[in-house]
């Protein structure tokens, strides 16, 4: 039996061991997704906690015939988007102005880490619009194939494709603007 379904059934009966199982399997990817989407660790932590509270509240509505992961991400996404809409009522598609290159000061180790390509890339991703960050995180970090990506975003396949394309081109443009000599060219 699928351990997620088993644990969801236990949670539905009020057994917190079911919650422990679900959290153990999904907490890292959920937190990473929320952090990428919300772009702020404190807010992501709050959304993380709210997501699991809502999961416990709404587990009765979860259709056990479907995988748990996309349902969990949909719950998290709705909470995160509500927060973002309150914060930026105008648009979630808005790109921040690129920040000046630079990293943490005073800590040699942090400097060394920040110099790594992955960290620079994460920094560039953090400067994208929330919806761009979201689609990149779901595709490349959560490794969702396009149909699952579209389902999680709640959009048709062509829209998911268009969002992915737009996020990638915006990201590359941003990287080239900040460090044109690097191999993103």
């Amino acid at each position: 039996m699928d351990p997620d379904r088993d644990d969801a059934a236990r949670l539905r009966r009020g057994d917190t061991a079911g919650l422990a199982g679900l959290m153990g399997r999904h907490q890292d990817r959920l937190f990473r997704y929320l952090l990428r989407l919300l772009g702020d660790e404190t807010v992501a932590e709050d959304a993380f906690q709210q997501t699991w509270l809502q999961v416990a509240e709404r587990i009765g509505r979860y259709d056990a015939a479907r995988p748990f992961g996309p349902w969990l991400f949909t719950v998290a996404r709705n909470l995160a988007l509500d927060h973002l809409r309150r914060r930026w009522p105008e648009s979630l598609d808005q790109v921040d102005e690129p920040e000046a290159p630079g990293g943490p000061e005073g800590d040699p180790l942090a400097h060394a880490v920040a110099r790594q390509q992955g960290a620079r890339l994460a920094d560039a991703v953090a400067g994208l619009a929330p919806l761009d960050r979201e689609v990149l995180s779901l595709r490349f970090e959560e490794d969702l194939a396009l149909p699952q990506l579209a389902e999680t975003l709640g959009v048709p396949l062509p829209t998911a494709k268009a969002r992915l394309y737009r996020a990638l081109t915006r990201l590359r443009g941003r990287l080239l603007a900040r460090a044109p000599a690097e191999d993103w060219r």
Partner: protein, 155 residues
């Protein structure tokens, strides 16, 4: 050589093209050095995205979350028990009121028959007082039940 496929390369790197389109792009890349170089850059970007530093929730956050959910589940269980208990009490109060009404009618009617005279004003007032008391208790039970239900919904 067919036309360049530059605009398809981001999605190709993301493995988000349908199979036929991906095959066309692959075929073109074998013939076009410029597009192949561009495809390399997109692939490096895609690989880099998969290797970004991966933040994880702290143990303290996970512990706080588990605690909060357990608390919520306990509240839900308590709320369900309270609703059931209140429902029983309301049903009991109304049953008692109706049964008592019938009993009162039976007793006072029997008594009146036995004494062969109508029920006096004292007994009538007493009956009215009892009935008013029961109705008040019943109404209070309903109101309390509704309030508890609303509070539960808000929480």
């Amino acid at each position: 050589m067919s036309g360049h496929v530059t605009d398809r390369l981001p999605l190709a790197a993301a493995e988000a093209l349908d199979p036929a389109e991906a095959a066309r792009v692959e075929e073109h890349l074998r013939e076009c050095a410029a597009c192949a170089s561009e495809a390399g850059a997109w692939h490096r970007l895609a690989e880099g995205l998969g290797r970004m530093p991966s933040p994880r929730p702290s143990r303290a956050l996970v512990a706080r979350t588990v605690e909060a959910v357990e608390e919520r589940l306990a509240e839900r269980r308590e709320g369900a028990w309270n609703r059931a208990a209140l429902g029983f009490l309301v049903a009991f109060a109304w049953t008692l009121a109706v049964v008592s009404w019938l009993l009162l009618d039976l007793v006072t009617g029997e008594l009146a028959l036995r004494l062969d005279r109508p029920v006096g004003p004292t007994a009538a007032w007493y009956a009215a007082y009892m009935i008013a008391g029961w109705l008040t208790a019943g109404a209070a039970a309903v109101l309390l039940g509704r309030r508890a239900h609303e509070e539960g919904r808000i929480a």
